[in-house]
């Protein structure tokens, strides 16, 4: 292995990690407020198809990203109404959202198969991008690669140091106490669910607008579920998502670089790696029940009603 092989590998790792970071950080905020949305995969697909369709129609990637966020927020709103207002079971509703997202995205995207858009432009920093080694490694990505890292920092800061973060955590740990001191639990949870939806939509759009700039039915291929596992892996801390997503990104792109590295195994085995790795890290993190008990928001997955 030499630098000429390593640089593209590491660079594509960052690209593959970006949708995972976006979706997982959104879900992390949702879960910190006590809501478990298993519909990540569905929301990502909706985002992917909406972003691709609008970019294709308008030629404006910015509009595409906005549409992806809006569309995924729309589906997140359905989840919110069902679980927060109508008290439906969060696990069942999340599964429904995923199945609905798979169906709706395939339906909307039926005319888009086989078309392609220009991938999100890569930024060019004067001088920095032209540096040998560090240029291609750090300074030639599209805006969302940097944006996703910024998002991790911003959400980490928000949760730890701001009043909003404190309230989100309070609601997630004990909605009844938070309600008793007068915080609007349901309204806040609507907010975090919508934020989770927007980020999942952005993550999905990254797949169809940057990573592989085309639309394929079910193109998320389980990334929504991997992002859900990443939140557990990160023990509900944003910086852990960053680490986990880059590890997974590396495992995911390994299959495209394996030949160059001289790894000779069937391609199917390499394609299995991200899924097997997800199982492996889940086992690793959950093995110690205390890790989960100490970090998991106490009210995760439980519905709240003020008069209950």
């Amino acid at each position: 292995m030499n630098a000429e092989q390593l640089i593209p590998f590491l660079a594509s790792t960052a690209s593959a990690a970006t949708p995972l970071i976006l979706a997982a950080v959104g879900e992390l905020v949702t879960e910190r407020s006590g809501v478990l949305n298993l519909g990540l995969e569905g929301m990502m697909l909706i985002g992917a198809v909406a972003g691709f369709a609008v970019t294709l129609a308008t030629g404006q990637p910015g509009l595409g990203l906005a549409a992806a966020m809006a569309a995924a927020m729309g589906t997140a709103l359905i989840f919110g109404v069902l679980t927060l207002t109508l008290q439906a079971n969060q696990v069942a509703t999340g599964l429904a959202l995923t199945l609905f997202g798979i169906g709706l995205s395939a339906f909307v995207g039926r005319g888009l198969v086989g078309q392609t858009v220009d991938p999100l432009p890569h930024l060019h920093f004067p001088l920095l991008s032209d540096l040998p080694f560090f240029g291609p490694l750090l300074f030639r990505f599209d805006i969302l690669v940097y944006g996703s890292v910024l998002l991790v920092v911003a959400v980490g800061w928000m949760l730890a140091y701001t009043r909003l973060g404190l309230v989100i955590r309070a609601v997630g740990e004990s909605p009844f106490s938070a309600n008793a001191i007068g915080y609007p639990v349901i309204a806040l949870r609507y907010g975090t669910v919508l934020f989770g939806g927007a980020m999942a939509g952005l993550g999905g759009a990254y797949l169809s607008m940057a990573l592989t700039p085309l639309w394929v039915e079910g193109m998320t291929a389980g990334r929504g579920w991997i992002a859900l596992a990443l939140v557990v892996f990160a023990t509900w801390k944003p910086r852990g998502v960053l680490l986990g997503a880059y590890l997974f990104g590396g495992v995911t792109v390994l299959q495209f670089h394996a030949q160059g590295f001289g790894i000779a195994v069937p391609s199917e085995v390499l394609s299995m790696l991200p899924y097997l790795a997800t199982i492996f890290v889940l086992v690793l993190i959950c093995r110690n029940p205390k890790t989960i008990l100490l970090n998991r928001p106490m009210s995760l997955g439980q519905n709240f009603r003020a008069d209950a």
């Binding site: 298993l38 569905g42 359905i78 069902l82 109508l86 008290q87 439906a88 079971n89 696990v91 069942a92 509703t93 599964l95 429904a96 959202l97 199945l99 609905f100 997202g101 798979i102 169906g103 709706l104 395939a106 339906f107 995207g109 039926r110 008793a180 039915e217 291929a221 389980g222 579920w225 991997i226 859900l228 596992a229 557990v232 069937p266 199917e268 085995v269 394609s271 299995m272 899924y275 097997l276 997800t278 199982i279 889940l282 086992v283 959950c286 093995r287 029940p289 989960i292 009603r305 008069d307 209950a308």
Partner: protein
């Protein structure tokens, strides 16, 4: 103004009415969608929901597709009752198909009657083995079974893809990624000549009856139900959570594996890169719509099967997109979850009461 009021006990009537309301709401939305697609809603409704099941052949297809949905749905329902989240039935189905298919391919010259039972057994064991992984990891390492079982679906797809592209590929198959066709002795006999519905359907009916007995008449079934409804009570009574997780996964894995054999030894007749049309996932909806009850699952499987064949019929006759089936499936579950609200709550008109002049304090009352 109206407001929600919690019922003192769950409404049994709503419990049964809710799937009907959901199905009705789905049909109404569907008809609106047909209009949106520029179709005559009544004609499209007829082509989608009535015509496919109005011929003898159509009924055969309905039962054919309801078979894997029933088998997977019954297994998942047992697990969901005990709060065990197996959503990887599609992977277990695929593994069952591989295991059963391998038996058929290993004995190409056998034409004896023992071949099919052996294939079914291998399929059940294959699905069971695949389901045992999330069960083991949940029990030994506390790993979330929803995520693990889902991840294993993708792994199972890839195992099948590897096998049909490599070791099991038909050497005389012009390099197509599929195994050779199974011999007649490895195919499930059809029930009625000219139809495709086969012996797997009565098998599914037996499974429904057995599961009903298991749920309502055995101690193990009772333990699983209590664990789902009242985990604390179950723990206090000393019901083992481990046993519930194992039972849920092994039963649902075995049934999904049987469904897999039913596909490859039935309508497909060989191993190919994909052996399931999302039956394992649709079975999640089937389980919920069927109220997690074996008999309900059977009815819900028939409805879901109608969505499948209706989609095909609408695609052929009206050039409607095939993806509409998936959309209807998702909608159905959404409507069900929304309608389920009325099992536990009811709407009450909000009465305008004059506020008391002096706030009444009740000593000791929880606020």
């Amino acid at each position: 103004m109206i407001r929600l009021e919690a019922r003192t006990e769950a409404s049994q009537k709503m419990m049964l009415a809710s799937p009907l309301i959901a199905a009705l709401a789905m049909l109404v939305t569907g008809s609106m969608l047909f209009v949106f697609l520029g179709q005559d809603p009544f004609h499209a409704f007829y082509v989608y929901f009535i015509k496919p099941a109005s011929t003898v052949y159509g009924v055969g297809e309905l039962l054919l597709k309801a078979t894997p949905l029933t088998l997977c749905g019954v297994g998942l329902a047992l697990g969901f009752r005990a709060n065990v989240g197996n959503i990887g039935a599609d992977g277990q189905l695929t593994m069952g198909a591989i295991a059963g298919g391998c038996v058929a391919l290993y004995f190409p010259d056998v034409h004896a009657a023992w071949l099919l039972p052996l294939m079914l057994l291998a399929g059940a064991l294959g699905g069971m083995a695949w389901a045992a992984i999330p069960a083991l990891l949940r029990i030994r390492y506390n790993a979330n079974e929803i995520l693990v079982s889902l991840m294993l679906v993708y792994v199972a797809y890839l195992v099948l893809s590897y096998l049909v592209h490599g070791p099991l590929r038909d050497p005389e198959g012009f390099n197509f990624p599929q195994s050779r066709m199974f011999q007649d002795a490895a195919l499930l006999p059809v029930l009625v000549h000219g139809l495709r519905v086969n012996a797997a359907f009565p098998l599914a009916l037996v499974v429904v009856a057995a599961a009903w007995f298991f749920c309502d008449r055995t101690l193990a079934g009772f333990r699983m139900r209590v664990s789902g409804i009242a985990p604390a009570a179950a723990a206090y009574a000393g019901f083992s959570e481990r046993r519930n997780v194992w039972l849920s996964f092994l039963i649902s894995g075995a049934l999904a594996g049987l469904a897999g054999v039913g596909e490859v030894a039935g309508p497909i007749g060989q191993l190919q890169p994909s052996v399931s049309t999302g039956y394992g996932f649709a079975a999640i909806i089937v389980a919920y719509v069927g109220r997690l009850h074996p008999l309900g699952v059977l009815l819900a499987a028939l409805l879901m099967s109608l969505l499948y064949i209706g989609g095909e019929s609408a695609q052929m006759e009206l050039q409607m997109p095939s993806a509409i089936t998936g959309l209807f499936q998702g909608l159905l579950l959404f409507y069900l979850l929304a309608a389920d609200l009325f099992i536990y709550y009811r709407f009450k008109p909000r009465l305008k009461l004059a506020p008391p002049a002096v706030p009444v304090a009740e000593p000791g009352a929880p606020s």
